[in-house]
């Protein structure tokens, strides 16, 4: 081909792809895919395992389990910390890989860590309410730990939806908590209004676009929302991003052992999406996304009002600067909403999940939380 023609941008646009370069690129991609396929075929179950930090199951009820992670320091902190993850994903995300494990980092900081695993709800659990989780399972876990460690109160750390449960718990059972840590937690579900941002807070907008009757229709029809459907709703928050993630971005990392394993570990966690009990979903959408009752202290659980001014223990509220699932405007700026005079906020770089597995965030999150707890225990 004529050199001048070869270098000429296509139709006046700066696209310098020639038939030769295209063939070369396709050949390279083809070779990469072949090598990647061989790599994929050779991975063992052990290599693909997630949540491998040593732990013991110490309590169980229905599908809920409580794990105690084996301390990695000789003398861990006297007051244990209980982590409550969301229902929309499995708890393994906070212990994804040995070098991307929030739990391991907390253990290394000398904390005594418990994690509640909400399990996988089936149709039998469709009638579970937020109160069943908060005043039932979570309270039983807290009581078990208090008794086991012979302490009056423990530290509670909630993640996202688990943070909402933790907030409700702190308001209903303040005497049982020493400190409350919230991470990427939606508190003001209407906080995004007036701060709309393209690509962020889609779930807030979507939930508010439905009528209460739509929510009832959806819940009554589905019962327990299938995990795949919950996963699909997350995929739809960034449809093109997810399209490239499984195509061009995957091709980019096929030759990189560490990145490839990281990708597969994350996918394993994503694919293991549990179902969501219908009644929790009904309350979540109607009382929180639509009526924003939590921050207004109007939420009623089991006949009791969740009054945020009853939260008088110290509160640390952690939010992610790039969170598009829970916009920062929904989680930050809660000073004065709680009854405590000891309220702190911590911003970490990254997104909703990146807070726990991202390189930069990991350096900040666990050490900051541990330091904050040490100062108050």
């Amino acid at each position: 081909m004529n050199q001048a023609l070869k270098d000429k941008p296509a139709a006046g646009l700066p696209i310098r792809i020639t038939p030769e370069s295209l063939m070369r690129e396709l050949q390279q991609v083809g070779e990469k895919i072949t090598r990647g396929s061989q790599r994929l075929a050779n991975y063992t179950e052990e290599q693909l395992a997630i949540a491998t930090s040593p732990k013991d199951e110490v309590w169980r009820q229905d599908m809920v389990r409580l794990y105690h992670y084996r301390p990695t320091v000789a003398k861990p902190a006297r007051v244990p910390v209980l982590l409550a993850y969301a229902l929309v994903g499995r708890y393994q995300m906070i212990d994804l890989e040995p070098d991307r494990s929030f739990v391991r980092k907390l253990l290394a900081e000398g904390l005594d860590v418990y994690v509640v695993d909400w399990g996988v709800p089936t149709r039998a659990q469709r009638w579970l309410t937020i109160d069943d989780y908060v005043s039932g399972y979570l309270d039983d876990c807290v009581d078990f730990i208090r008794e086991r460690h012979d302490v009056d109160s423990i530290n509670l750390l909630g993640v996202c939806q688990g943070g909402v449960f933790a907030t409700c718990y702190a308001a209903l059972f303040p005497e049982k908590l020493k400190n409350l840590v919230l991470t990427v937690t939606p508190l003001d579900f209407h906080g995004d209004q007036g701060h709309e941002e393209t690509g962020a807070g889609y779930m807030n907008l979507w939930a508010r676009s439905l009528t209460p009757d739509d929510i009832d229709l959806m819940v009554d029809t589905m019962g327990t929302a299938p995990g795949a459907l919950v996963g699909f709703s997350f995929l739809m928050m960034a449809p093109m991003g997810n399209l490239t993630k499984y195509t061009t971005e995957l091709v980019d990392i096929l030759d990189d052992e560490a990145k490839m394993l990281g990708f597969l570990h994350m996918e394993r966690w994503i694919a293991d999406r549990p179902g969501h009990p219908g009644e929790v979903m009904r309350q979540w959408f109607k009382d929180l996304y639509q009526a924003n009752k939590l921050v207004r202290s109007e939420l009623v659980l089991g006949g009791r009002k969740v009054e945020l001014d009853r939260i008088r223990m110290p509160v640390l509220n952690v939010y992610a600067t790039g969170d598009v699932i829970v916009p920062t405007s929904c989680s930050r700026g809660m000073e004065g909403k709680f009854g405590t005079e000891d309220y702190s906020e911590l911003s970490v770089p990254g997104g909703h999940i990146g807070t726990f597995v991202g390189g930069k965030a990991q350096k900040i999150l666990a050490p900051s939380i541990a330091q904050w707890l040490r100062e108050r225990t």
């Binding site: 941008p9 110490v58 309590w59 039998a124 069943d132 039932g136 009056d152 393209t198 439905l210 093109m240």
Partner: protein, 219 residues
Amino acid sequence: MGGQPVAMFGQALKPLATNLERAYGGLADAFGLAPMRDLQGAARGMASANLAKQQAQAEYLGLVVAALAKGSEGLVTRLQEMGPNGESVDSLLGLVRLWARSAEDAMHAAMQSPKALEASAKLVRAGARSRQQQHRIVALASEALNVPTRAEVDDAYREIQELKREVRRLRKSIDQPRALVAAAARADTVDMAEAALPKPKPARAPATKRKTASKVAAS
């Protein structure tokens, strides 16, 4: 879109079907045809719900396609900006990435618009109604086969859950005094606390061992 002609045909025949039902429904039931007629009614309902769902899907898909077209326009604009800056796209993968970024922005803007949110809500409604019609058919078949329907099983689950709540409430009311004694012991005022507590009723005493929760000893 295979169900569309059937559904449209069903809609057209609806007045006739209604009047036939009025004239001969009771007679047909007397001859034991009720289950079959119920099933036919449910099938018609499902066809109609499927049609509404397909229409909602088409409306939503139209918005997605429009957003993708806007994304492609954005790609051209971006490329036009790149030229004067001396930037260029040298690979197919690079071009795909650039297009995806542009399409993502357009998609977000479109999907967050009131029109798309309304289309999405319509799709949710239509999807749920279509699913309800499927359940209706399955329920009719289950009843005919003497198998519990989904609604019946759900009712049983609801009763179980209500009983579990009651057990939990009772267990906690029993555990509470015990916890107070433990707390008082920690505060070294156990005698005072015990004296202040009501004496537990004998029938409830064994329940201080939690029955619904099992403890697994840490190894």
